[in-house]
């Protein structure tokens, strides 16, 4: 019998295609009704205005295999799915912020809605895979936003990317796409628009 081959979900943003349109940022915020002040995804542009050197890339939680946030959490509220998506339980979270210190990418976000502006529960990109609550229940939607992965849909940000710079999916598939793009350079149009 052949071994079960689980996907490993990954994001990939091609900086030669990202045009800093913030479509991914707004799509994510709209889809999950994220409060103002919290940005699960952001676009970073460096060397703005420097001819030939300006580059933009869209970043959110990278769903690391060795997620530092999961390692550092004092109440151990993170769990990593078999397909690599890193999620957390907002009911356990105490809002201490260690995950933000440990994350190289600054993915964990805290709404400042407590008294004197103390931090609320941590919120971050879930790769549109919800949380530990019952899948696609109202509770899950309220706490974590949509669970598109359970519905077989592409996460919101990548589906809305104007130039298809942002890709998400099984690491092999994404790598294949990138390889395909690189090797087919200059050979004529082979792919449909609005796919990848």
């Amino acid at each position: 019998m052949s071994k079960v081959d689980f996907s490993r979900m990954k994001f990939y943003c091609d900086e030669t295609l990202c045009i800093d349109c913030n479509g991914c940022v707004v799509a994510c915020k709209e889809a999950h009704e994220v409060p103002v002040g919290v940005n699960r995804r952001k676009v970073v542009t460096i060397n703005e205005g420097i001819v030939g050197k300006e580059v933009s890339v869209s970043m959110a939680c990278m769903h690391c295999t060795d997620a530092p946030c999961q390692q550092v959490c004092p109440v151990d509220c993170f769990y990593i799915r078999t397909d690599g998506i890193v999620l957390h339980d907002k009911n356990k979270c105490i809002g201490c912020g260690y995950c933000l210190f440990a994350c190289p990418f600054g993915a964990p976000q805290f709404p400042k809605d407590g008294a004197f502006g103390t931090k609320g529960k941590m919120d971050k990109c879930t790769m549109c895979a919800g949380g530990p609550e019952e899948t696609n229940s109202e509770k899950e939607r309220h706490l974590y936003g949509q669970n598109r992965i359970a519905e077989g849909k592409v996460p919101m940000c990548a589906s809305m990317c104007s130039t298809k710079a942002l890709l998400v999916g099984d690491a092999h598939e994404v790598a294949l796409i990138k390889t395909y793009r690189a090797t087919k350079k200059g050979q004529g149009i082979v792919t449909d628009s609005y796919g990848w």
Partner: protein
Amino acid sequence: MANTWGYGAMTNHIGDMQNSKAIIIFGANPAANHPIAMQHILKAKEQNGAKIIVVDPRYSKTAAKSDIYCRIRTGTDIAFMYGMIRLILKNKWYDQSFIQDRVYGMDEIFKECEHYTPEVVEDITGCPKEILIQATTAYAAADPGCLIWNQGWTQHTVGSSNTRLGSILQLTLGNMGKAGGGCNILRGHDNVQGSTDMGCLADTLPGYYGLAEGSWKYFAKQWNVDFDWLKARFKTPDMMQKKGFSLSLWIHGVLDEANNKNNADAPLKALVCIGNGISTITQTHKMKEALDKLDLVVFIDPYVNDAAVITTRNDNMFLLPAASQVETEGTVVNTSRCAQWRYKVVDPLYEARADHEILFDFAKRFGFYDQYIAGMGKGDKFVWPDDATNEIAKALKTIGMQGRTAERIKKHTTNWHLFNDTSLKGRGVVEKEYYGLPWPCWTTSHPGSPVLYNLSLPVSQGGMGFRTRFGVERNGESLLAANGSAPVGSRIKGGYDEITAKNIEELAGITLSEDEKKLLEGKNWKNDDSGLLNKYALEAGLAPYGNARARTIVWEFIDNIPKHREPLHSFRHDLTAKYPASNDNPNHFRTNVRYISEQTKQEWVKDYPINIVSGRLVEHMGTGTETRASKYLAELAGEMYGEIHPKLGGKLGINDGDMMWVYGTGEGKIKIKCKYGYTVDENSVFLPQNFSGVWSGESLEKRYPGVTAPYALGENSNQITSYGYDQQTSCPETKCSLVRLEKA
């Protein structure tokens, strides 16, 4: 463009850009203004090996993805292009056979371009000559190459010359009428093309029919109303045929008494503004004055129009809530001439009413409702918008709308998954049709014409030559296409005049029956209701509008061939003597418009030494009325600013994050935050034009009724843009303004 080859619309379509081998972008920023269209440009770059060349005063997000970037001074595009044409001429990169067969007047252009050596171009534009040569070499070497422009070209006093010279450049290289080539004007809004098609312009009737009596008579027939009744609606008969005030100049019809004589001896007294952000036209303070002075102001809009809070009148101003696009139904036409049906999602909320309901209500109260709906031919039992769509299809023959019935458009929208995104070709139930039936779509069985002026397809499949719009000959030279240059399957193997009842038999090689002759008497393709002329023309492989040469010389224009003229408020005052503005125009869209007198009034650059580069932020659309009311967009881009080069900031003593006053050449001034950046050069300031709600440092938030104020307010940058209007179209010269910056 209409004056060059017949139609003034994007010649190819958005997906078609993937077929280009070089894309040159002047005065446009698709990365910010058309992010989805940018995908096609980037696909062309990545998969098709296309070279992307951007010519822009600012290193925009589009420029960041370019292979060659040319920084030019604002308003010097003509000099740059003549520089390119001269190099093309000298190196013989032009398409000789294309010019010989399909272009008239190229010699004049080749003569004019001699002056623009790379050194001269470098002096005028500021772009190093090596980069000009590199860009031209790359662009000319590519086949096909497409040219993109937008408001970076049209918003100048010489905007009409910019666009013509761009078309001429494409003609020189033979890039017209082929996939991957063309002039792709990426117009801003999703229905701007549709609105101009419907005649929302001051100088045309719907379908770009002119204002002559013949056109009015034609429309009277289409609308099923009595021509004399229509004529009697105007104060005098000549007012009926007069060009109206344009969007940028109406304020002068209110404020400047001298213009009354152009307007039947009366100033403008009332304004009804339906879904238009009039606060983004230049000279906002004059607009405020005009709004204050009018007897009646009505805004019809789903959001509170920003102009409504700029004016301080206390009486006779009405805000009528209009329904948004999801609360009503109808068609839109995108920049590449494709139609799309928009279905209603919800009924209008609260007190909002669909625009047509509001207008019908007005018509009822004004007493001409019956005439208003007569065109649909169903009395008051019409179905909206299907019957209106069919009325439009029937009436607008000049742009070949006959094939775009409600039924066909709906079929496309319902089946949009069956169309290929790059070629627009359909399959299955929509086989052989192009998505949205891009006009001209001559008959109800025509598939639409995605690439204009394409000779490699028969007319019945969307092919055509250039339009015979300017006559058949001039000064002894034929304006018709040369022998051998005709769409595939054409009965006439060369050029021919536009189809009329008189020449249909000869050109199509048919004989009309007596009944047909009666039906067609005195008709031509633009007013033939029977459809017979188009039918016979298509059967013979002829385009109803003729097959002619594109002309580089527009004898009706002030500048017969495009000429470089310095902007009215030029950064290089020393060049204004050599390249002066045109003469003042006392009756330009009923307004007295200054040109040379404004340019020579004073040496503007002494008091106002900084150049404005204006543009859009990707988060906002137009005036920003709608987008600044969206909390996430307001969060991302919620503050008005001016971006300057750090060296300029150092010279002026303004730090990154400081507030600064910007003084315009008119009376306006704005107080905005300073942002350091390298996208502009050391003599410019970049101002986004998407903000409103702050007036010279004072917030207008309190003037918004109730809780309708948007989340983000900012200074309206048009308070400080300079006076100036295109010499042909009156488009405002926002791109060439001078200002003074001071720390606040």
